[in-house]
């Protein structure tokens, strides 16, 4: 657990910049929690009372305009920082766009942008023009039902492996991967290890990658449908919720691959998805262990 408050600059002149980086960052809530632990919740000064006539200047030119005394008031009444954050995020002018983001945030933004690319087709206008038929709810429902029927039929008649045929020999879909015999932290750690097996094979062709990705996606379905008896209801809900999000992302990558995206690029994207889900499972296991 990293403590953010203890990184407060020694020089008073640097405190405004430090707070500004937190205001546009992703760890302000942690900073506020820490300051509250040290200073208590503070008095009942409102943000309006603190900013007085400086509000517009803060939005235009940042926190330096407040001066050291008001900055100390902010540190002494940390909940105001959260209010101030909402204000600068929603109404802050161009100055606030120039406050540097952490490398961690830049990485997340770049990653999300890359992951978005395959989903930005077709253009909404093109969709809108052909939308008339599925704007009708009954027809859309009928079409959905037909599509499901088609997929199920195809699965039953052409794709379903014969009884006894082996499934994936790795990941969550591997027989025995979801053994219910372990306590919750070990169960989650085993799920993380099973997912990490993704990196044990590095297919380079679209075909090979599609098969590997399909195995991983099948593992998601297995996970969604499993009982997860070692987990309490809350953790089970968390796992299923995360699993749905992972499944969506894997579907997007599979779809990108089918549309001709570069297999190595897709593999990199999936690597990142898997890394994050492995981290999330380990973190949850640790949390349950604590």
């Amino acid at each position: 657990m990293k403590l953010y408050a203890l990184d407060i600059p020694e020089e008073a002149a640097e405190i405004a910049g430090w707070l500004e980086r937190h205001l546009v960052g992703t760890h302000l809530a942690e900073l506020v929690a820490e300051l509250t632990a040290v200073a208590g919740p503070g008095t009942s000064l409102s943000l309006r009372q603190l900013l007085t006539h400086h509000r517009a200047d803060v939005l235009r030119r940042g926190l330096d305009v407040l001066g050291p005394e008001k900055l100390r008031l902010l540190l002494h009444q940390p909940a105001l920082l959260l209010e101030l954050q909402e204000l600068v995020l929603t109404e802050g002018e161009a100055y606030w766009d120039r406050v540097p983001l952490t490398a961690e945030m830049r990485g997340a933004i770049e990653q999300a942008e890359r992951s978005l690319q395959p989903s930005l087709k077709p253009k909404p206008r093109q969709r809108a023009e052909s939308r008339a038929w599925f704007a009708r709810p009954w027809l859309a429902a009928l079409a959905s039902a037909a599509a499901v029927l088609l997929v199920v039929s195809a699965w039953e008649f052409w794709l379903r492996p014969p009884p006894g045929a082996p499934g994936p020999d790795w990941g969550w879909a591997r027989p025995g991967a979801l053994s219910q015999e372990f306590p919750a932290p070990a169960y989650l750690a085993r799920l993380a290890e099973a997912a990490a097996q993704w990196r044990q094979q590095r297919p380079q062709t679209a075909d090979g990658l599609a098969r590997r990705l399909a195995d991983l996606r099948l593992g998601c379905t297995t996970l969604l449908l499993a009982e997860h008896r070692p987990l309490d209801a809350k953790t089970r809900d968390w796992l299923r919720e995360r699993c749905r999000a992972w499944a969506d992302k894997l579907d997007q990558q599979l779809s990108a691959l089918e549309k001709g995206a570069d297999p190595l690029q897709v593999r990199t994207e999936v690597d990142q998805i898997v890394d994050r889900l492995v981290d999330a499972l380990h973190a949850k296991a640790k949390e349950l262990q604590a």
Binding site: L3, L89, T90, R125
Partner: protein
């Protein structure tokens, strides 16, 4: 790679271009909107969600924006964007903790982040108690924004000594929060 667009264009102009017929122009306009607003949006999401969720949600919000381009009526794009984000956060939190059906006006459900923050606060408060009173006061004064010269003047200690003491107190607190139970 996507084409570049005129970066001086307003958000309204970019939304207009993003809805337009030319695929390359639409993508470039959308990318410029993303570049302008993704940072603040990520910070906004992290107010309510755990870090990995906020990163996942960032992509989901922009996907919704792309799908809802036609529903933007003009005006403040950022307010519209944050409105989409707010709805997504509510959906996520509700899915995680279904609200009881018989509550007329149920309280906002706590998020994983709320629990993590309460845990952080409790751990640090406990660890502060482990410090001696002088070091605890030093930490408190530093986190109130006071510099070493000012604290030295008030306490009669040397700046260098205070510097060293704060360094050790910081290390002790960092180690303690990792091991102490909340």
């Amino acid at each position: 790679m996507l084409q570049t667009v005129e970066t001086a264009a307003s958000d309204d102009d970019l939304m207009h271009a993003a809805r337009g017929q030319g695929a390359a122009d639409a993508h470039a306009a959308f990318q410029e909107l993303y570049r302008r607003h993704a940072g603040r949006l990520l910070a906004f999401l992290a107010r309510s969600l755990e870090e990995h969720e906020a990163a996942d949600c960032l992509q989901d919000v922009w996907l919704r924006v792309w799908r809802k381009l036609d529903s933007f009526q003009g005006g403040n794009f950022r307010a519209w964007l944050f409105g989409i984000a707010r709805n997504l956060i509510i959906d996520l939190v509700r899915k995680r903790r279904p609200l009881p059906l018989n509550d007329v006006d149920p309280p906002a459900p706590a998020t994983g982040l709320d629990e993590e923050l309460a845990d952080r606060r409790q751990r640090l408060a406990r660890c502060l108690e482990n410090l001696n009173e002088e070091d605890r006061t030093l930490v408190r004064l530093r986190l109130e924004g006071k510099g070493y010269p000012e604290i030295a003047r008030d306490s009669g200690r040397k700046t260098e000594e205070l510097h060293k003491r704060f360094h050790f107190a910081k290390k002790a607190l960092q180690d303690c929060v990792k091991s102490v139970a909340p």
